[in-house]
């Protein structure tokens, strides 16, 4: 019981620390091309059991708010969380979202989305479509890929926010 409390305190401290670190990083390293790797224990534990972990810098704040507000009907599946965990993850996603993290890549994603649109998918954005317009439909359906949403099949560094051309490899 005591060790559990200690562990919880540790997790909380870790979360506060990483958030603080990221915010500080924003001021100093703003404008960098790639998405900075981010960590948050609840996000990592809850948002990667059904698919890869999508970097918060891939969608704007309004998208994350809408997505996190509808977890009980998440793309046809129930991904609901308890209120506290849901709030904690939402805060983290918002703080590092495409309109708040300061990287060039995020700025481009955010500006490719019309102001009145709130996409729930990264794959819906004009930025994504444009970057992948040379990949044919049959490639997306390969067994090792499955769909456009499975970034990590081709971008091995996707969960860390690394989409650099040097790390792209399309599996056969």
């Amino acid at each position: 019981m005591f060790t559990r409390k200690l562990l919880q305190a540790g997790l909380l401290f870790g979360a506060i620390f990483t958030t603080g670190y990221l915010l500080a990083d924003d001021h100093e390293g703003g404008g960098s091309r790639s998405l900075a790797p981010v960590t948050q224990p609840k996000w990592q534990a809850e948002c990667a059991s059904c698919h890869m972990l999508y970097h918060p810098g891939l969608l704007p704040e309004r998208s994350w708010r809408k997505l996190m507000g509808g977890l009980d009907k998440h793309f046809g599946e129930n991904a609901s969380l308890d209120k506290l965990t849901q709030q904690e993850i939402l805060q983290f996603l918002v703080a590092n979202s495409a309109d708040h993290n300061g990287s060039r890549r995020s700025e481009k994603i955010a500006s490719s989305i019309p102001a009145q649109a709130t996409p729930l998918r990264i794959t819906e954005t004009a930025y994504f479509q444009h970057k992948h317009d040379e990949i044919s439909a049959s490639v997306w359906k390969r067994p090792k890929i499955g769909s456009q949403s499975n970034c990590i099949a081709c971008h091995s560094g996707a969960e860390k926010g690394n989409f650099s051309e040097d790390y792209v490899r399309i599996p056969r």
Binding site: C50, H51, M52, G76, E77, A79, I145, G146, N150
Partner: protein, 135 residues
């Protein structure tokens, strides 16, 4: 009335600390007996049927627990988004049913997705009994 309340609380708190599949099974069995005094003991064969039974959803698709977890619980399964799910049988994956909050969370989600309702404690207890029986 208050007696039942404390009993349920006791079961829930015992449940919340379950750290092994056997303890998880015990917790759900106790809860099942509370819900239905005629329930005697968990049944692995009923759990087997429950695990493989397909259900027709409102939108026309058929789904079962085995859709994602595969028909053989010693094998890894796959989510709809193409991510691997580690085996469900504790004999093939020692992490299974060692975190009561996690177990409850997935029962809540997956029962809603497959059965379009919550699962009873009896179904949960039979389900775990079946998975424990798979060697």
């Amino acid at each position: 009335m208050t007696k039942t309340f404390w009993l349920i609380l006791l079961i829930l708190s015992a449940n919340a600390q379950a750290a092994s599949p056997a303890e998880a099974l015990q917790g759900y069995t106790a809860q099942a007996k509370q819900e239905n005094p005629a329930y005697k003991a968990p049944s692995a064969s009923k759990g087997d049927v429950f695990f493989h039974a397909t259900h027709q959803l409102g939108n026309g698709t058929s789904v079962s627990c085995a859709t994602c977890h595969t028909a053989n619980p010693r094998q890894p399964g796959k989510t709809r988004a193409n991510k691997e799910i580690l085996p469900m049988a504790p004999s093939a994956n020692t992490q299974r049913f060692t975190d009561a909050a996690k177990t409850e969370k997935w029962f809540r989600r997956n029962c809603q997705d497959v059965l379009e309702r919550t699962c009873t404690a009896q179904e949960k207890s039979d389900f775990i009994a079946y998975l424990l029986s798979v060697k």
